[in-house]
């Protein structure tokens, strides 16, 4: 428990941290994005010559590197932590399902130990013209506009090549910090292909940038991988729906525990006002990624 003086100092630190974060992070992200866009063609050609990888795989590698840059930019203000996300814990082929609290959740996927994950997302992210060409090149799936047969064939292809597919099964960001209902598509694909489902719980990005807010706030962001779920354990007509409910239940429980853990470490209750935020993260855990 911190003394009153300690808490007071933390509050001052937080009040300064919020404007400092917003004044530095946004321009740096813009600069990093612009650099990425302009340098990508050269980088792509060099990577292609060296590795001979397919274009979509190279693009996914660059998206992952872009995400790592984002993590670095955020690191002075955000304490990133990974739990159970070591390279050996789970390996593709698999289907990753992640909860969705913030616009920045996709960027946090750079905390994964591998880059070759195809995002299966709704139509609206493809409307961001500065990202859309790269998303198309990376082979990302627009699950809102694609026919199920095409999604199923593409997934089968990805999984048979040992790749990973990543879903946000809630479909859109939660506006009340609660896990929403899950769409069952990811689980139907898991049943069809036999690929294991790895539930990923992402906590803290709602503190960083929740829906409806345009300014950032320091936060602790934790990505926790739960035990993979084997689709073979689910059979019958509604197997995918049962699997969907089981995985959602696992994630809801884990997210509840993660939130309790974070709150128990906070010397000041978390409030909507930026100046009442708990202590500014003291160290950088990003280099341990």
């Amino acid at each position: 428990m911190g003394s009153k003086a300690t808490n007071g100092k933390s509050l001052v630190g937080s009040c300064l941290a919020v404007p400092l974060m917003n004044l530095t992070v946004f321009p740096l992200i813009l600069l990093w994005t612009a650099l990425g866009i302009f340098l990508f063609p050269v980088g792509f050609v060099i990577w292609k010559i060296i590795t001979r990888w397919d274009a979509d795989r190279i693009m996914r590698q660059f998206v992952w590197i872009y995400g790592r840059g984002w993590l670095l930019i955020m690191a002075p203000f955000v304490r990133f932590k990974r739990v159970g996300v070591a390279a050996g814990k789970f390996k593709p082929p698999c289907i990753l399902v992640v909860n969705h609290f913030s616009f920045f959740d996709t960027y946090c996927m750079a905390m994964l130990p591998f880059s070759d994950a195809v995002f299966a997302i709704r139509a609206w992210p493809f409307k961001m013209f500065w990202y859309a060409p790269f998303m198309h090149l990376a082979g990302y799936l627009n699950v809102e506009n694609m026919e199920w047969r095409k999604i199923s064939e593409t997934t089968d292809n990805i999984i048979s090549k040992g790749g990973a597919l990543l879903f946000f099964p809630e479909g859109h960001r939660s506006r009340n910090r609660q896990l929403q209902r899950f769409y069952s598509g990811a689980f139907k694909l898991a049943i069809e292909t036999g690929a294991r489902v790895v539930p990923l719980c992402l906590n803290g990005t709602d503190e960083l940038l929740p829906p409806g807010r345009w300014w950032l706030r320091p936060a602790r962001v934790t990505l926790k991988a739960l035990d993979p779920v084997d689709p073979k354990n689910f059979t019958g007509d509604g197997a995918h729906r049962v699997m969907c409910k089981v995985v959602r239940e696992m994630m809801a429980r884990s997210l509840g525990e993660m939130t309790t853990e974070i709150c128990s470490h906070s010397p000041v209750p978390i409030a909507a006002d930026g100046c009442q935020h708990p202590v500014l993260p003291e160290g950088r855990e990003f280099p341990t990624l």
Partner: protein
Amino acid sequence: MTEMEIIEQINTSLAEEFELNREVLKPEALILDDLELDSLDIVDMVVVLENTFQFKIREEEALREIRTLGDIHNFVLNKSTEIVN
């Protein structure tokens, strides 16, 4: 079963299966926009209704005309009447 009981049964099955809030289950609610069900959910919904009411409806042409929750109520009510007669 009375009409009200059938409607209640439909709403309960859908709320449980798709984790829908009971407040959104109004007859005028659009299935895609208001209930936010996707195409896969609609396929699953047919299975849920078949299991709940013990009849086959997946080949029914009238299914294609369904847009709202009220349409589902009417569809099941008509089907139930058909079976009774």
